[in-house]
Amino acid sequence: MNIVRLVLQAGLRDLSRNRWIVAYTLAFLGIAEGLFWFGGTGPQVLLSMLNLVLLVLPLVALVFGTIHVYASREFVELLLAQPVPRRELFAGLYLGLALPLAAAFLVGAGIPFAVHARAGASLGGVAALLGAGVGLSLAFAALATWIALHTDDRLKGVGLALGTWLAATVVYDGLVLGAAAAFGNYPLERPLLGLMLANPVDVARVLVLTQLDVSALMGYTGALFEHTFGTALGTSIAAVALLAWCAVPLLLADRRFRTRDF
């Protein structure tokens, strides 16, 4: 465990010195604060921030993550020359990436909401947004780690990361929309709810939506949606799905890391 801490500390030091992560924090801070500044009410700011979380957060975690893992390759090789368990080294590597990303978002997006607590954003909505953002950071950092460990070619790795981002944010929803249109005559609600769980971005969106956009959830679909995700059980299911999206890529990356010949 000592090794984990050491590597983590090294990673954190590395990242905190990195101008990108500071800029990332400030960007969230600036945008959220700006939205309040320009007369946004709590719910409006939440919705704008939701768009940001769904689009920007996965992009940054994926691209920045892959580049970071590639950049720390020499450091990893150096450590591997020492009697260090690979699993602990891997844990340090991942946490050193994921924790600063999540923390940067939490600080950048959280502070404006805390400052403007009286602007009318519901506590549940803010909590869901911050939770979803942290979950997405962790999940896409895991995906980035896996991608970077899987492909040696850096350009290819970054390309893969971008492709993953596009697939998760836009293409997947397009396919779901296509399925909804193509099989419109069938009772599709439940299968579609299942499909929502299979994409971390959709899980995050659904989590936040059940907390703040209740008025939009109407009709049979809305009711089912509400019944499925609006309850404590549903929220837990969504949270578990997000965690699975951290765990599965991590396990794959970890296996790769342990068996790989550096």
Partner: protein, 429 residues
């Protein structure tokens, strides 16, 4: 708004004037009769032990004063005209779950200050807490109605006043419940400042034209907060309809004025803030539609003036079906709705002009307060959801934003003609 109604239906103006005159006459009559009649006291220390006995003895113009206490008597029927029934200290008239409580069967009767309760449920008869049957000019005011099948029931009774009553029913199923205030073939009624909770329909008008409904609160109805059919030239002002299971439904009527009401929190797949079906030539003005599944639903209605309303945080602010034509939406305010306007066709038979839309992102170079580019309120995604309900799951997905943006630039599927050419830059008022 009264004036507006008259303008809209000038052929009724004479009748309205006649009714006002009739009311004035009634008022003077009441005042006069009060002076000439006797007081009959019922209850502890009174002349009569039962209301039944007092009603049998009363002469026209008398006043029956009922002391506090619980009265369990056969259904009370008022057959003497110009009688005033007055409860002091909230006497309780108990139907014991067996029967109707009080029936007004004579003209110019006033009932005030009673608690009518517990008619019980019947599938064979419509038991009411207080019923007016085939009379004119009754006044039912400041009563409390508790757990009755029907609350106040006006049956073929003209020019009655129902005001400041508090009506409540608990825990009944829709099939085992009647309406809070029910009007059937009762023209010229005034329903004011009542509070109705938990009945099937809070307030119900059928075949009852020229009614005025003001300042009522109708909430948690099992079906509609307000339901009216075949009742021309009625007006609804400053009422609050809240958390009703299906909202408010207005059907098959002409010249209806709906103004300055609040429609709040009607949830569910068949719940509407305000549902208009086959209404022609009315006005829907200055209302607030707040957090309904569908704020305003317009079907088969024509020549409606929808002006100055505020639609906020609804699922669908306004659903205007293609069979509704020549309706004009202007000066309304749309904010925080998931969908502002939807329809079910590519043609636009209603006009949207000069509204304020929070999603409008155009500019105003000449600074006249009107945006220079038109606004298309129907989003592509709204149409998709209309056809494939399950697609609602993609609400607020980045993909949907992209599709909507693309559709706004190059409308292919959304009704191109449904457009606000003069969107306001600032919310009205």
């Amino acid at each position: 708004m009264r004036g507006l109604a008259r303008q809209a239906v000038p052929w009724h103006a004479g009748r309205v004037a006649a009714r006002v005159a009739a009311r004035c006459a009634l008022l003077s009559l009441l005042v006069a009769s009060r002076a000439e009649g006797d007081d009959l006291t019922v209850g502890r220390g009174g002349t009569y032990a039962t209301l039944t006995a007092a009603l049998a003895a009363a002469k026209p113009g008398d006043r029956v004063i009922v002391q506090a206490g619980t009265y369990r008597e056969p259904t009370l029927v008022v057959r003497t005209p110009r009688l005033v029934l007055e409860g002091q200290g909230w006497p309780v008239l108990d139907g014991e779950g067996q029967r109707e409580v009080l029936v007004i069967a004579a003209d110019d009767v006033t009932v005030r200050g009673f608690v009518a309760t517990n008619t019980g449920v019947s599938n064979l008869e419509d038991r009411a807490g207080i019923r007016a049957r085939d009379v004119r000019n009754c006044v039912i005011e400041r009563n409390r109605l508790r757990d009755n099948l029907w609350g106040i029931y006006l049956q073929r009774s003209a020019d009655c006043i129902v005001r400041e009553n508090d009506i409540e029913a608990h825990g009944l199923k829709q099939t085992e419940s009647g309406n809070g205030i029910h009007l059937w073939y009762s023209p010229g009624a005034r329903v004011e400042r009542n509070r109705v909770r938990g009945h099937r329909d809070g307030i119900y008008f059928e075949f009852s034209p020229h009614g005025e409904t003001r300042d009522n609160v109708s909430e948690r109805s099992q079906r509609y907060g307000l339901h009216f059919m075949f009742s021309d030239s009625c007006s609804y002002e400053r009422n609050t309809f809240r958390e009703n299971n299906s909202g408010v439904a207005v059907m098959y009527s002409r010249g209806v004025v709906i103004s300055a009401n609040r429609f709040e929190r009607s949830w569910g797949s068949a719940a509407y803030g305000l549902l208009l079906k086959d209404i022609s030539g009315g006005a829907v003005t200055d209302n607030v539609f707040d957090r309904n599944s569908t704020g305003l639903f317009v079907e088969g209605s024509s020549r409606l003036e929808v002006r100055g309303n505020h639609f906020t945080q609804n699922g669908w602010a306004a659903k205007v079906l293609a069979d509704a034509d020549e309706n004009v939406f202007s000066g309304n305010r749309f904010s925080g709705n998931a969908f502002d306007v939807t329809t079910n066709s590519r043609s636009a038979n209603s006009t949207f002009d000069g509204n304020w839309w929070d999603e409008y992102d155009g500019y105003d170079l000449d600074r006249d307060g009107v945006g220079d580019t038109p606004f298309h309120p129907v989003r592509l995604f709204a149409l998709v959801v209309e056809q494939h309900a399950a697609a609602l799951l993609l609400l607020r997905s980045p993909l949907v934003s992209i599709l909507d943006a693309a559709e706004r630039v190059l409308p292919v599927l959304t009704p191109e003609a449904l457009v606000d050419r003069h969107p306001l830059m600032r919310p009205p008022r």
